[in-house]
C-alpha cells in the first residue's frame, strides 16, 4: 500500500462504503497520510471521474468527498427507482439563507433589517435542516447570536466551498447602474418582473409556507409533500 493507485483505490472503496461525505482527515488517518495528501489524492480522483465522463462523480464539500451520480443520469435514476421526492425550500427560507450566506456571521436583527420582516421561525427551520448554525455571539447589545451557513448548505446547493458563491458585488453593480443607464435598468426590471409575477401566480400562490415546485422544473414533478431527505 504505497502506490498512488492503491491509495486512490482505498479512497474509492472508503467513499463508496461511507456514503456520506468522507472527511479527508479521517480518510488520511486510515492510510497514515496527512489530510493535505489525502485531499490531493481525492482531488485527483475527482478529476479522473470527470475527465472519463463516468456515471458517478466525486463531490467535494469543504474538506469532505462523496460519491454521487452525474447529473446527466438523473432521468434514468428517476425512471429506475422513483427516488425520494425532493422538496424545495420556501422563498422566504431562500432569502434568509441568501442573506446568511453572503453576510455571515450575521445576527437575526441584521437579516430582518434587510427583509423588513421578522424571520425567527424561518431561521429556526433552517437551523433544524442544518443549513444554518450558530457561529458565536455578536458583541452588540444583548449579545445576539451570529448565524452562518453549514457544510449541509454547501452540499444542498452544490458548492464545494463558500468561495463558489456567485460574487455578490456583481449583483450589486447589476442593480446600481448610473442614472444614464436607467432605461436599461427599467428594461431589465420589466423582464425580472415578468418572471417574478409568473412565478408568483403559478407557483407560489398556492404554497403558503413551503413553496410548491414550479411545474416543468427538474426534480419538481415531485410535488411538495415528501420531506427533503438529508
Amino acid at each position: 500500500m504505497t502506490t498512488a493507485k492503491s491509495i486512490k483505490g482505498a479512497f474509492e472503496a472508503m467513499m463508496f462504503t461511507w456514503g456520506e461525505p468522507l472527511d479527508a482527515r479521517t480518510a488520511g488517518d486510515v492510510l497514515n497520510i496527512s489530510e493535505k495528501e489525502a485531499i490531493a489524492y481525492l482531488e485527483e480522483l475527482k478529476e479522473e471521474y470527470e475527465k472519463e465522463g463516468r456515471g458517478i462523480r466525486i463531490r467535494r464539500i469543504n474538506k469532505s468527498f462523496q460519491f454521487v451520480t452525474a447529473d446527466e443520469n438523473a432521468l434514468y435514476i428517476e425512471r429506475l427507482c422513483t427516488p425520494v421526492r425532493k422538496r424545495k425550500l420556501s422563498q422566504s427560507a431562500l432569502e434568509v439563507l441568501a442573506i446568511v450566506a453572503y453576510k455571515q456571521p450575521v445576527t437575526r436583527g441584521e437579516i430582518e433589517a434587510v427583509r423588513g420582516i421578522k424571520c425567527d421561525r424561518v431561521l429556526e427551520g433552517l437551523a433544524r435542516k442544518e443549513l444554518v448554525e450558530e457561529k458565536g455571539r455578536s458583541n452588540g447589545i444583548g449579545r445576539p447570536i451570529l448565524y452562518g451557513t453549514t457544510d449541509t448548505f454547501l452540499k444542498y446547493f452544490g458548492f464545494s466551498t463558500l468561495k463558489e458563491l456567485p460574487d455578490i458585488e456583481d449583483i450589486e453593480s447589476l442593480i446600481e447602474v448610473p442614472e444614464e443607464y436607467e432605461d436599461a435598468i427599467m428594461a431589465n426590471q420589466i423582464s425580472l418582473e415578468e418572471i417574478g409575477s409568473e412565478e408568483k401566480t403559478d407557483g407560489e400562490a398556492t404554497a403558503p409556507e413551503e413553496v410548491q415546485p414550479d411545474p416543468g422544473e427538474e426534480g419538481a414533478e415531485a410535488g411538495g409533500d415528501a420531506e427533503q431527505p438529508e
Binding site: 421578522k118 449583483i171 435598468i185
Partner: protein, 261 residues
C-alpha cells in the same frame, strides 16, 4: 392594475413594494412615491377586506411611505437644514430596496443551485454494523501521562521509604537519647543554677534529627523532674534550668511517656 396576487406570497413589505414598483415600470431611483403609496395602501386594504391578516411590518412600511410622501410635498433643496443628511426623502428607502433586491437575486441564484442539485443522487451508507458492533479499544497513552504516572508512583515509593527510615531512627533515638540526656546533665554539672537556652542543648543545629532528639531528651528530663523549662512567648526561646534532681541517674525513657507531652 389588477393585483390578483395574495399578500401572503410576498416575503415582506419590501417584496410587495418592489413588486408594485416594477409592475408600474417605475425606476427604483425615481419612485413616484405618491402613486406607489396609494397602490401599496389600497393593496393592504384589499387584503384586510378579504380578511387576510396583514402583519404589522406591512403597516410600518405604509406609514413610512406616507411620511416620505408628505416630505416630498415640501419644497426640497430650498431647505437643506431640515434634513441635511438625506436631501431626497426617498434616499434611505431606495438604499433599502436595493439591498433587499440584491439578496432577492442571490436567493434566485441559490434556487438554481438547489434545483440543479436535485439531479444529483447520493447512495446510502453500506451496512457497516459488523464493524460498529465491535469498537476498537484504543489506548489513550502519551509519554507525559506515562511519566506523570511513574512520578506519582515514585513519590509514593519515596513516602514509604521515609516511613521506613523514620522507624529506623526512632530505634536509633532510643539509644542515643540516653547520650543526649547525659550531655544535658553534664551541662549543668558545673553550675546547677545556670539557665541554658534550648539552642545550646542542640549540638548540631543544622540537623533536624539532632534538634528533635535534643528536644525529646529535654522533655524526658523535665518529666523526670531533672529540668525546668520556660518559654516567655510563643515560638520564643526555651530557657532550660536544672532542678535538685539533675544529678540523679539517667533513665532512658520513663514508663508513662506514651502519650508524648
Amino acid at each position: 392594475m389588477g393585483y390578483k396576487v395574495r399578500l401572503d406570497v410576498f416575503e415582506g413589505p419590501f417584496d410587495l413594494l418592489v413588486y408594485l414598483i416594477e409592475s408600474a415600470r417605475m425606476s427604483i431611483y425615481d419612485i413616484k412615491v405618491s402613486e406607489i403609496t396609494s397602490q401599496y395602501i389600497s393593496y393592504l386594504e384589499e387584503m384586510q377586506q378579504m380578511n387576510v391578516a396583514v402583519s404589522s411590518e406591512f403597516m410600518v412600511l405604509a406609514a413610512e411611505l406616507i411620511d416620505i410622501k408628505s416630505k416630498m410635498l415640501l419644497p426640497r433643496s430650498t431647505d437643506p437644514e431640515a434634513n441635511p443628511e438625506a436631501e431626497d426623502p426617498r434616499t434611505n428607502l431606495v438604499a433599502r430596496i436595493l439591498e433587499y433586491k440584491k439578496f432577492k437575486i442571490a436567493s434566485e441564484i441559490l434556487r438554481e443551485g438547489e434545483i440543479a442539485n436535485f439531479r444529483i443522487y447520493e447512495k446510502p451508507q453500506e451496512d457497516i454494523s459488523e464493524y460498529t458492533e465491535s469498537p476498537d479499544e484504543y489506548l489513550k497513552l502519551d509519554i507525559d501521562q506515562f511519566v506523570n504516572a511513574f512520578n506519582l508512583f515514585l513519590a509514593r515509593k519515596k513516602k514509604i521509604e521515609e516511613i521506613k527510615q523514620r522507624y529506623e531512627r526512632i530505634e536509633r533515638q532510643k539509644i542515643s537519647a540516653e547520650h543526649r540526656m547525659q550531655f544535658i546533665q553534664d551541662l549543668f554539672k558545673a553550675d546547677p543554677h545556670k539557665k541554658v537556652p534550648f539552642s545550646e542543648i542542640v549540638q548540631d543545629k543544622t540537623d533536624r534529627y539532632d534538634i528533635a532528639l535534643s528536644f525529646s531528651s529535654m522533655l524526658e528530663m523535665i518529666k523526670q523532674t531533672k529540668l525546668t523549662a520556660e518559654q516567655k512567648r510563643i515560638y520564643g526561646e526555651i530557657i532550660v534550668g536544672a532542678t535538685e534532681h539533675i544529678n540523679e541517674k539517667i533513665v532512658a525513657e520513663s514508663e508513662p511517656a506514651e502519650g508524648g507531652e
